[in-house]
């Protein structure tokens, strides 16, 4: 005898993520979730990003890793609140971890919350953290076909950032082919190419963030009035 259930497998995570999303909206927080393979330059991009904000900006970072607080220590040098989530082996962040750490750090908006996910292109794609946007990084030392190999995360990301473009003269990587592959999976995906080392293209990324922050602030204002 068959009984219809119709439930999302991750319904508990989805419920917590919806509560986080509501909280971000109420408090005027722009939350973005950075996802990539290990070593694609998430931390380096965040360093460059934090350095670009005026010192009194309301910016915070949650950074996830299986072990060590190395990334949090790297990022704390820029003077903004940074908290390391050590997952102890779990290959992704989930909404419960984010909620707990936000409460423990006493985080409140308005402002920007950067979440640096665990380096992994597979598992983080399943877990909603209430973010306004998932952002996937692909470095030019990887293969152009990564969007085709890991379609889940490219399908769910609003923006793809090609990183380490200063290395383009030294590697056989076609940025055009990588973009074409990303658009096969997600035709509307935004794309930015940059180098955190030279700073080239970082201004485009800051502009992209600024536009998204404006949208979030309008949503919050619309909810209040």
């Amino acid at each position: 005898m068959r009984e219809v259930v119709e439930k999302k497998v991750l319904s508990e995570n989805d419920r917590l993520a919806a509560a986080l999303r509501q909280r971000y909206r109420d408090e005027g927080i722009l939350c973005v979730n950075l996802v990539s393979s290990p070593g694609s330059g998430k931390t380096a991009l965040l360093e460059k990003t934090l350095a670009a904000f005026p010192k009194d900006s309301a910016v915070s970072v949650l950074t996830g890793d299986l072990q060590t607080d190395n990334d949090a220590r790297r990022l704390a040098r820029y003077g903004f609140p940074v908290r390391q989530i050590v997952t102890g082996g779990t290959c992704h962040l989930d909404a419960r971890m984010v909620d707990r750490h936000l409460n423990e750090m006493g985080f409140h908006g308005p402002g920007i919350l950067f979440i640096e996910n665990v380096g992994n292109l597979v598992c983080p794609s399943s877990y909603d953290l209430g973010e306004a946007a998932k952002i996937v990084l692909l470095s030019v030392t990887e293969g152009e076909d990564k969007p085709l190999k890991y379609p889940g995360i490219f399908h769910r990301s609003a923006l793809m950032i090609l990183t380490k473009t200063d290395l383009l003269p030294h590697v056989e990587f076609s940025a055009e082919l990588a973009l074409e592959n990303a658009r096969k999976i997600h035709p509307e995906i935004d794309t930015i190419a940059l180098s955190s080392r030279t700073g080239e293209g970082v201004d485009l990324w800051m502009t992209w963030l600024g536009v998204l922050q404006q949208k979030v602030q309008h949503q919050t204002a619309a909810a209040i009035t």
Partner: protein, 119 residues
């Protein structure tokens, strides 16, 4: 890679559904898994076997329906399956379309043992 966590979330739901039905036996759980869900059916089945071994759920069957990516064309409104990453509508050639299937990660149904009275 995270199939153990997914399998354990599914078992929590099965446990909760079993508590709602005292006296009935759940013999199978039906799942829908999309090709964009980042879940491997083989790894999920393996994780299930490992998690349920020597537990009351040892004989629980897992039935997986694989859901390929499907799009609805914004031009002609037709629906089509995406084959070899070809996103253009095969009917009218429009490039804009909306994803309508392929992201599933759902528990669709439970199979209960038929009671003796009915058999």
């Amino acid at each position: 890679m995270h199939e153990i966590g997914i399998a354990s979330s599914i078992l929590e739901t099965v446990d909760a559904e079993a508590r709602k039905r005292p006296g009935e036996k759940i013999i199978a759980v039906g799942l829908r898994i999309g090709e964009l869900s980042s879940i491997s059916p083989d790894a999920l089945t393996f994780a299930f076997e490992a998690l349920t071994r020597e537990t009351p759920w040892e004989n629980l069957k897992v039935e997986i329906e694989w859901c390929p990516r499907r799009q609805k064309c914004e031009g002609c409104g037709g629906e089509f399956a995406v084959v070899e990453f070809e996103m253009a509508c095969p009917k009218c050639g429009a490039s804009r379309s909306t994803c309508i299937s392929g992201t599933e990660l759902d528990i669709a149904y439970l199979e209960l043992e038929e009671s003796c009275a009915r058999s």
